[in-house]
Amino acid sequence: METSTIWTVIILLGLGSFAMRFLFLGIVGDKELPDWLLRHLRYTAVAIIPGLVAPLVVWPGATGGELDPPRLTAALATLVVGWLTKNVIAAIAGGATTLYTMLFFFG
């Protein structure tokens, strides 16, 4: 990665993130937002993150894009633990444990 690329992302992403945090509190103020806009904004994270992660799980870069049983199993374990516990850290621990166990036996 180029240093200039890294700093461009850091600075512009920082400014952009601040702009979004400041937009209403600092500039727009106490105005009612249209319902349809708020309704869409509520689903941004849940619409982007699963889409980002799905190809990483199905076609992992580390195996050259081949479906990889240890990584797939670890992904499923993370989802199951996350679903059962609603706890982010427990889910990460469950996924990591599964990944290392599978890599130990199959990797």
Partner: protein, 238 residues
């Protein structure tokens, strides 16, 4: 209650936010590790966490930078993940809007998932709080979260350079994202948005410049919004 001192409100915020330390510390530690693995220096990694201070967006940007996508795509995707911050900002404005501009500007920088969700809940439950008390509570929720976001990023960056390849850290990031997803699925609309997002991202992965992900994001948002609208007809009638 308005009889509470500003100081006690601050400490209430600290106590309410303290458990989230257990989420923030390992998450930022992991960001530090993954970022240095990806080739960022310790200084760049720490700067990243200070400038952006939003885990999911940072991980998103990092992944797309590793994938060598154009910078504009990296920025659009990561900012899309952070769009919810605009929603948080809008939602806090009725409560914090009377504070001086400089305080609002500093507070805006510290709007993160935890400080927002705790504050929004308490502001609603304590309508008698003065603007000073509301600010004090907000700062209380920031105190056990944000300083540790920086500190553990730094720690992760420092140890990241010493971690060997066989630990399969390539998959640390997908696991983190997956762990984040489940608690987000609070309603049928959220579940549907996530499913549409996954399906569309895989189906459109042939598109250049990560446009498949942006398409998936837009379709997911529209799905969530539409299902919410259909499930809550009483709000529509307002």
């Amino acid at each position: 209650m308005s009889t509470q001192s500003t100081k006690s409100v601050f400490w209430k915020g600290v106590r309410d936010a303290a458990p989230f330390f257990l989420v923030v510390a390992p998450f930022s530690l992991l960001f530090g590790v993954v970022a240095t693995e990806a080739g960022l220096s310790v200084f760049e990694t720490l700067s990243f966490s200070i400038a952006v201070i939003a885990g999911a967006a940072q991980f998103t940007a990092l992944q797309l930078m590793v994938d060598d996508l154009p910078t504009v795509i990296v920025l659009i995707s990561a900012l899309a993940v952070n769009l919810r911050m605009a929603m948080y900002s809008a939602s806090l404005t009725p409560y914090l809007g009377q504070a001086p501009l400089w305080q609002r500007a500093v507070a805006a920088y510290f709007i993160v998932d935890q400080s927002y969700s705790l504050s929004a809940l308490q502001f609603e439950e304590n309508p008698a709080w003065t603007i000073k008390q509301r600010m004090a509570y907000f700062w209380g929720t920031v105190a056990p979260i944000c300083p540790f976001w920086y500190a553990f990023t730094l720690l992760g960056a420092l140890i990241g350079e010493t971690i060997p390849d066989r630990l399969a850290l390539d998959f640390a990031l997908p696991i983190c994202f997956l762990a984040l997803i489940m608690p987000m699925l609070r309603s049928p609309a959220h579940v549907a948005a996530a499913l549409v997002s996954v399906t569309a991202a895989l189906a459109f992965s042939w598109m250049p410049y990560n446009l498949g992900l942006l398409t998936a994001g837009i379709l997911g948002m529209m799905t969530g919004a539409e299902i919410e609208r259909r499930l809550k007809p009483e709000e529509e009638a307002r």
